[in-house]
Amino acid sequence: MAISPRSLHTVAAAALLGLGLSVSTPSQALPISECIAPADPGGGWDFTCRSVGKLLYDLDLVDNPVKVVNMPGGVGAVAFSNVAGKRADDSDLIVATSTVGITQIAQGRYPGGVDTMRWLGMLGTDVGVVLVDDDSPYQSLDGLLEAMVDDPSSVVMAGSSGVGGWDHIRALMLAEAAGLPDDQIGSVRWVQFDGGGPAVTQMMGGHVDAVSTDLGEIAGFIKSGDVRVLAVLADKPLAPPFEDLPTAVSQGYDVTGYNWRGFYTGGDVSDADYQSMVDTLKTLYDSPEWKQVAERNGLVPLWRGGDEFNTFVRDTADKVESISREIGVIQ
């Protein structure tokens, strides 16, 4: 279709427009030249890649714009298997991931375990919330959890992950902390929607009772007063404007549930290259620009990198694996 002279003009115009964006003249391997977003354009992982990729270039941490490659499939499994198989020693490649990806690994849904990859660092985190409609009968976390313990099937909960996904597991961790016996934990009704927003809307329509999801996705509903937040799953109260939201910890339930955003790279990347990638990301994290981008998107800037992050990822995976076993998501 691009044969006729007229459309060539269009191509030329588009090419001219695109110059600033994608002049990818080949050169020697630079620290980071490609970011794989293991999802379709528009999602959280895609955002992580695009915003970090853009900042790396804007801050002159890399010489050429970072290529963003979308590789959706199996909640990240396709990208994981691709990197493990073909790009394990590629020192210019980073892959976006989050707690959701670690949950998948812990439940054996990726072709390989945590040690297949080298974990670079996390740059920010979203935090879990449990909320109800503003005219719901549940006034506090105690009220909701008591009703659940009395009759687990009396409360319909919803979120953006499937059964055994991070939203569901966070809700069940609360129920467990409130004293719901292990053998009844499977009776809690869980409904999955395509995101936190749809789940909250369905709750406002009276179709479900409570929602467990990430704060960033539904912050607008909190500000507008359409919903009542029963608990945020953070260690300490959040920064303004959410400083008044009660934590679960302050109400006597020792449960936290973050959803961080970060990156991994192939397992065969050398120590020196790995360290230089971690340093690059740390520099990016320290910039005021990143803080701005993160906050704008409902993330709390939070850094864990290098070996500390590796250990953290392993611990999270172990924790998720054990609770998944308890609730019967994996055998």
Binding site: D46, G73, P111, G162, Q192, Q202, G205
Partner: protein, 500 residues
């Protein structure tokens, strides 16, 4: 009136020369991307977001650029649907049903012109609806729970016999096949993999762009290779777009009905633009009955889905802006765009940032007008493409489709999927079984299943929840009426051989 003031301000901004220029560029680039088989609105907008940042455009200017790209890609998809029988994206699929037969009759230019006008009207209706009724419609939309959505999908499949003039059994069979193929992949609700046989590439299900391009483009080429002496299908002359624009007057009732149905489908976040164009087409076919000649190049068969498609796209902005819920892939991208510009769609957006909302509405309107104007010269351009010899045209279409589909996921696997669907599509054509229901099953099956399961998860396994509300009972009653009417009509046509 406050809203009117903001809207006028939005238009004043959108009409600045720089912004008009951006709209022009956006429409042209978008049309190009949309006309490439495999690339659609989602890719177009996603790819250009970084561009908007690179130029340091103001939020309104960036919105105008991207919204123009969005409309351009929708229009581009329409061009390949009508001219080559290859839908560029899912909502454009219904346009092939009558658009391509029109092109075969040498009325392709007319079809393109008509579709531009119908889209324009559809989008305008949606814009007006958005301006007047947004808060009211939000209240209506949240009353739709999983059970109500399931009823809506049942309605879609109850009308599937209306897709083509072929056998009802075969249409339904094709739909069932599509629904079954739609279950392939990782079940998001439980994480269990279904019919994937160990292939990670299938975990996200069958990519429906790959399936769509395979079913339409590859099968077209296979058919062509049977008899190399026939023409490429479409008549070499497209004609002018002007008569089509005039013809739109004759279709005004169709366009009005299509716009209304599409708008309602768009407002419901679980339904989306595909369902909007689909229902507009089938319901219009039912409405016209014997007066219509759908499937054989009836201009109303182009007008209805085009109006519906664009009205749905506009309507989908209501849940996107006021609830932060994207109703389609494209609104998801627009949502990401707004977020990256520090605008959080949600219940407060209309109150807190009205200039943004109405700027967007104005941008949509400008993009629409721009396309209507661009349409006339574009028809000439595409007529020239059609005059290319088939040894050039067919390989170019195939390769563009290949690269387009490959670039979606960077996966050669999708190319094999596309080939397999090409063979399937060829077989379906030989069996006189329509391909459209297969894609619809693939496309809508997932949401249909999840809403069924959500409803039953809420009720704890009690199936009576499906008929537990007035809305769902009403939808089922409507579906049953249509189904019975369809059967009676078919029986009546058979009794009177001179009909239809």
């Amino acid at each position: 009136m406050d809203i009117l003031g903001f809207l006028l301000h939005g238009f004043a901004v959108a009409l600045e020369p720089q912004n008009l220029f951006l709209a022009l560029i956006g429409c042209a680039v978008g049309t190009l991307i949309g006309a490439l088989p495999g690339l659609g609105p989602v890719n177009g907008v996603a790819l250009l977001i970084p561009l908007a940042f690179n130029f340091g455009l103001s939020p309104t200017a960036a919105l105008i650029l991207l919204v123009s790209v969005y409309y351009g890609t929708m229009y581009g998809g329409r061009i390949s649907s009508i001219v080559l029988n290859i839908p560029g994206d899912e909502p454009a699929m219904m346009t092939t049903l009558d658009g391509y037969p029109m092109a075969l009759k040498g009325r392709g230019g007319e079809a393109l012109g008509l579709s531009a006008v119908a889209s324009f009207v559809g989008a305008t209706v949606a814009t007006i609806g958005l301006t007047l009724f947004a808060p009211l419609l939000v209240g209506f939309a949240i009353r739709f729970g999983p059970a109500e959505y399931f009823a809506l999908f049942m309605l879609a499949f109850a009308t599937i016999g209306g897709v083509t003039s072929g056998s009802f059994t075969k249409s339904l069979l094709a739909a069932c096949l599509g629904l079954l193929l739609g279950t392939v992949g990782l079940d998001p609700a439980s994480g269990v993999s279904r019919y994937t046989f160990g292939w990670y590439e299938l975990y996200d299900g069958i990519d429906f762009i790959a399936a769509l391009v395979g079913l339409f483009a590859i099968s077209e080429c296979l058919l062509f290779l049977e008899d190399r002496h026939q023409t490429t299908g479409a008549s070499r002359e497209l004609g002018s777009a002007i008569p089509g624009m005039r013809r739109a007057g004759a279709c005004k009732a169709t366009i009005a009905r299509g716009s209304l149905i599409g708008f309602i489908a768009g407002v419901l976040p679980g339904a989306g633009a595909s369902l909007g164009s689909f229902l507009s087409y089938t319901l219009e076919k039912r409405w016209l009955g014997r007066q219509g000649d759908f499937g054989n190049g009836d201009p109303r068969g182009v007008a209805a889905p085009e109006a519906g498609n664009n009205a749905a796209a506009g309507g989908a902005l209501i849940p996107m802006l006021s609830l932060g819920i994207p109703g389609s892939g494209t609104t998801a991208i627009l949502l990401a765009l707004l977020l990256s510009m520090n605008i959080t769609p949600g219940p407060l957006l209309f109150d807190q940032q009205p200039d943004m909302v109405w700027g967007l509405v104005a941008a949509l309107f400008i993009g629409n007008v721009m396309l209507l104007v661009l349409n006339v010269p574009l028809v000439g351009l595409f007529a020239r493409v059609l005059r290319a010899p088939s040894w050039l045209l067919m390989p170019v279409v195939i390769l563009v489709a290949f690269v387009g589909v490959y670039s979606l996921n960077n996966s050669p696997f999708d190319l094999y999927v596309m080939l397999a669907f090409g063979v399937l599509g060829y077989g379906l054509r030989k069996l006189h079984m329509p391909a459209v229901p297969v894609v619809l099953g693939l496309l809508l099956g997932g949401e249909m299943e999840f809403n069924l399961r959500r409803a039953l998860a809420i009720s704890g396994g009690d199936w009576s929840i499906l008929v537990g509300s007035g809305i769902s009972v009403g939808i089922y009653a409507f579906a049953a009426t249509l189904m019975v009417a369809g059967l009676v009509y078919a029986w009546w046509v058979r009794r009177t051989p001179d009909a239809g």
